[in-house]
Amino acid sequence: MKKQLLNIITTTAVTCALFISIAHGQDINQQTQVAPKFMIGFTGGVTMPMGNFAKTDYYNGASGFAGTGGNFGFTATYFIDKHWGISELFSYHQFNFVGAENMALGMQGFPDGFDCDSVNFKVMGNNHTFNFLIGPVYTTGISKKLNLDFRLLVGFVNANLAGNSFTITDGGVTDPTFYQAVSWANTFGSQLGAALRYNISKHVSLSANVDFFYSKPDFEVNNINRNNLAGREILSYDQPVEGINGNLTLYYILSRK
């Protein structure tokens, strides 16, 4: 897992470094670039959750068991002038589930479990968010083909919390499975980030973004077939869904005349 993450980060860094070096190599002593009027792009990359949402502690009810995942989305930016614009982003974030072993062992053990012979744990659905965000963007040219963009987006977030199921076996008897249902909630969210945007041609540019995202959905969790007060059982989850996105965005640009 960590090795894969390192590979992703390395690949992204090398790609960005490549474009930046090409840009600088080409742009030295060249004239100022043409300001874009409107640009639309497709973005995708790695999503790394932080905080309680990323914790995998069975004994901590705030643990979200969210691991590194991915995101993709569509973005559009309209520039009011040379530096300022308004940007929107419609994106999907998905987080892998991590810590399944902790859940199974915790539920099997005692005192916070059922003290049984074995537990079969399965994840239902996944942790993900749909985001529709809008906000200001500021751009400044570093060289003819390289721009530095900053943006602060706020808006609507639809969040889903993965469910799970447990099947307990004890003394040779397997008891009926019980569930934590998949939950969802709507809330406000925000995203703050910076990007290096390289103009490949007059109409195409590639951007390497790093964004911090934050939302705080208040999930009501429905538990099915939970009969006894034992084991990990959450009735609600209101921890921040936050983390860092490392993305590449491919833009199509309409420039000012």
Binding site: T11, G67, G70, V119, G171, Y198, N227, L248
Partner: protein, 218 residues
């Protein structure tokens, strides 16, 4: 030259994108704890202490022991008690593990562990009339008695479930006016997430017996 650079850039984007998405693709995890040999709490001994509520000097203890929890000889030599007719007894059910005593003269009491796990444990009682007759056991609700039953048993303790459910480690045994004798079958049920107040769900931690004599003279 410019065209080839653009092609290289687009190719890099696509390759990086595919790599990221293939790594980030949906990953549903499942886990199962390593199954161990099916078993339950190691309990070798069922001890029941009977104390007459109206006569504290009237105390009797029945002890059922099977040292090999996987099957083996059972020591019935102390597994019998005598109760008075028309009497109420407070009964304490103790569970011990004699295979792993605390010290040479101190047995290990499993009762505390069962109390801590009370939300998914239940002690059940039933009559085994295969050797004796005229002996019957019932576990009616509080404040009621079952007609024709020679031994009414009321579980006094309850767990933390909602609603609260009986546990059975502390009980009241109420004898009838009739003399009788029989075998009382006592089982401790392990009911993880299936405890509902009845005996059938789950597995059995221990199944012991006490021979009970109910007599006007003791």
């Amino acid at each position: 030259m410019k065209k080839s650079k653009n092609l290289i850039a687009v190719a890099a984007i696509i390759i990086t994108g595919i790599y990221m998405f293939s790594w980030c693709s949906c990953n549903k995890k499942a886990a199962a704890t390593p199954p161990i040999v099916p078993g339950n709490e190691p309990i070798t001994t069922l001890q029941m202490i009977f104390q007459n509520i109206n006569d504290p000097s009237d105390i009797d203890t029945g002890t059922w022991t099977q040292l090999n929890v996987n099957g083996g000889p059972i020591d019935y030599s102390k597994a019998h008690v005598t109760l008075k007719t028309n009497a109420s007894y407070r009964v304490y059910v103790n569970l011990l593990d004699l295979d792993f005593p605390v010290s040479a003269d101190t047995p290990y009491f499993v009762t505390g562990e069962i109390q801590a796990r009370e939300n998914f444990h239940l002690v059940c009682f039933q009559a085994d009339t295969s050797f004796y007759g005229n002996f019957s056991v019932g576990t009616p609700a509080w404040g009621t008695t079952l007609p024709g039953i020679t031994l009414n048993i009321y579980r006094e303790d309850s767990d933390m479930n909602t609603p609260k459910l009986a546990v059975g480690l502390i009980d009241s045994f109420v004898t009838s006016a009739d003399s009788s004798s029989g075998i009382l079958d006592v089982t401790l049920h392990h009911q993880p997430n299936v405890k509902n107040g009845t005996c059938p769900p789950g597995s059995i931690d221990i199944d012991g017996t006490d021979t009970v004599y109910i007599s006007p003279h003791k």
